[in-house]
């Protein structure tokens, strides 16, 4: 008698454990898909900004255009989150938060990059929330955001996503620095990243991973600063026209990309692209 009792009890446990593990797996897969889409969106943005630079549009319109093209991609991610909603309802969100969070951070990184290119500012917590609810929700409750969300947005995912943005901005600034107007843009980005780093500093004790990411942000910032420094030093040595400076700057950048292994590949490719542009001129 007791044996059959135990069998029923453990039968129920098995069903529950299997259900939990299956859902967990599904969410990990979804998170990976989202990470992928977000990464592609970020690459797309970098590419679009570069192309626009070639056509000599001014920064703001170029950024706006690029972000407009990225938004449909981001909407694909938003649709995926809408579909995940039932998996994350009620107390489930926090149970699977660790599985959801990597994709979500990558999404926020891509979203905030597009937002920066369009507005030149940091996307707010509420603005991120507003992308994670159905369209009705947005109209109904502009103030009372939380109730219409697909799932709660955590401050930690928001901040960690933004922290990754600084790395993209570094790439954005340095790869564009050799272009006309690139130095202005770089100093704008430099100030912006510096501001981000200062803002995040107070929050590091609250979020464990943030202090690690702060170190990466510091590195990115230093790279932009070094590039800006090189430009000032060179331009003071010679009395040169901006056009000639562009060539010198392109050379000095190549030395940065050579000693920074994690970014070398990207820059190597871009440098070649730069040269081919020069040939056309």
């Amino acid at each position: 008698m007791p044996t059959t009792n135990i069998v029923t009890i453990f039968d129920n446990f098995r069903a529950e454990i299997d259900d939990h593990n299956d859902r967990r797996e599904r969410l990990i897969k979804a998170s990976r898909d989202i990470t992928n889409l977000a990464k592609k969106t970020i690459f797309l943005l970098h590419r679009l900004v570069q192309e626009a630079d070639g056509r000599e549009l001014d920064d703001l319109t170029a950024g706006k255009k690029a972000s407009q093209q990225a938004y449909p991609k981001l909407r694909e991610i938003q649709d995926l989150y809408a579909k995940l909603q039932p998996e994350l309802q009620g107390d489930r969100f926090w149970r699977y938060q660790r599985q959801v969070s990597p994709g979500l951070q990558e999404y926020i990184e891509a979203l905030s990059f597009a937002h920066y290119l369009e507005h030149g500012s940091l996307i707010t917590f509420e603005e991120v929330q507003r992308t994670l609810m159905d369209s009705q929700g947005v109209e109904v409750c502009l103030r009372q955001v939380c109730s219409a969300l697909y799932f709660p947005l955590t401050v930690s995912d928001y901040l960690l996503g933004l922290s990754d943005l600084t790395g993209e901005l570094m790439r954005f600034a340095i790869s564009g620095i050799a272009r006309r107007g690139g130095r202005n843009k770089a100093s704008g980005v430099c100030a912006f990243v510096r501001g981000c780093k200062a803002d995040f500093e107070r929050m590091t004790p609250y979020i464990r991973e943030l202090s690690k990411k702060q170190a990466v942000t510091a590195q990115s910032l230093e790279k932009i600063e070094d590039a800006a420094y090189a430009i000032v030093v060179r331009s003071s040595e010679y009395d040169l026209s901006p056009e000639m400076l562009d060539d010198i700057v392109a050379n000095s950048i190549s030395s940065y990309s050579d000693n920074s292994p994690e970014t070398r590949q990207t820059f190597g490719r871009r440098r070649q692209a730069d040269h081919s542009d020069d040939d056309d001129d």
């Binding site: 007791p2 044996t3 009792n5 135990i6 069998v7 009890i9 453990f10 039968d11 446990f13 098995r14 529950e16 454990i17 299997d18 593990n21 009620g90 107390d91 489930r92 969100f93 926090w94 149970r95 938060q97 940091l122 707010t124 917590f125 709660p152 401050v155 928001y158 901040l159 501001g195 981000c196 803002d199 107070r202 929050m203 609250y206 979020i207």
Partner: protein
């Protein structure tokens, strides 16, 4: 970030820190109680069978005292955030449930079900999104119970209670069969389950010793 936004984020973070402190306070209270309980329950290994009910009666009120913690936690955990904070008290809850399981076994030689265990700690159905007893924690406590019973099998014999190892053996084998039905992933629960076989072996050796010397009647396997 503008200063408004910055303040908003910082407020959100501060709120979480406050909550965490409050939870820790409660968990500390519970840990005091569970330590007392475990201290008393340690004496089962040196308590003869006829003195056992009195010993168990002395722990029960302390165990029921843990209800204060669970209801306090249910009151401070925000809606739907059970899983966010549960790691803060998992260990304490597992210890309390282990004590409840052990007390039940020693009183009735039966298994306290998960629903009964939750009830012992005063965990209510309607708290399920804030305070509940997850299967995983219950299973951890069950494994602790088996660990403890394998020790008891040895010590019961020392105290002249030769029937106990046989009862324990049957009970634990049932549990082991139950655990074997689960598809555990490679986590601590799985590793602890894997170690159960050593407890089983130890118990079987005691049963062997006892039956070899005809100290107790071993029932035929059914």
């Amino acid at each position: 970030m503008d200063s408004n936004e910055l303040e908003k984020i910082n407020n959100l973070l501060d709120r979480d820190v406050e909550l965490r402190e409050k939870i820790k306070e409660q968990v500390n209270e519970m840990d005091k109680k569970t330590r007392t309980i475990i201290g008393i329950l340690n004496r089962i290994h040196s308590t003869p069978l006829d003195a056992m009910p009195a010993l168990l009666d002395s722990v029960r009120p302390v165990l029921l005292g843990c209800r204060d913690t669970t209801s306090a936690l249910a009151a401070i955990i925000p809606r739907n955030q059970f899983w966010r904070w549960k790691d803060l008290w998992s260990n304490s809850i597992r210890t309390a449930i282990f004590a409840a399981l052990l007390i039940e076994y020693l009183s009735t030689r039966g298994l306290l079900t998960i629903a009964e265990a939750a009830e012992t700690l005063g965990i209510r159905e309607e708290w399920s999104d804030r305070m509940t007893l997850p299967v995983e924690d219950y299973l951890h406590s069950l494994i602790s119970l088996v660990n403890e019973l394998s020790r008891l099998a040895v010590n019961a014999v020392t105290l002249g209670n030769f029937e106990e190892p046989i009862r324990i053996s049957i009970f634990v084998k049932d549990l082991f069969a139950g655990f074997s039905m689960l598809n555990l992933k490679n986590d601590t629960l799985r590793r602890r389950f894997d170690s159960l076989k050593y407890d089983l072996k130890k118990i079987e050796e005691v049963v062997y010793d006892v039956s070899l010397r005809k100290l107790a009647e071993v029932p035929k396997e059914s």
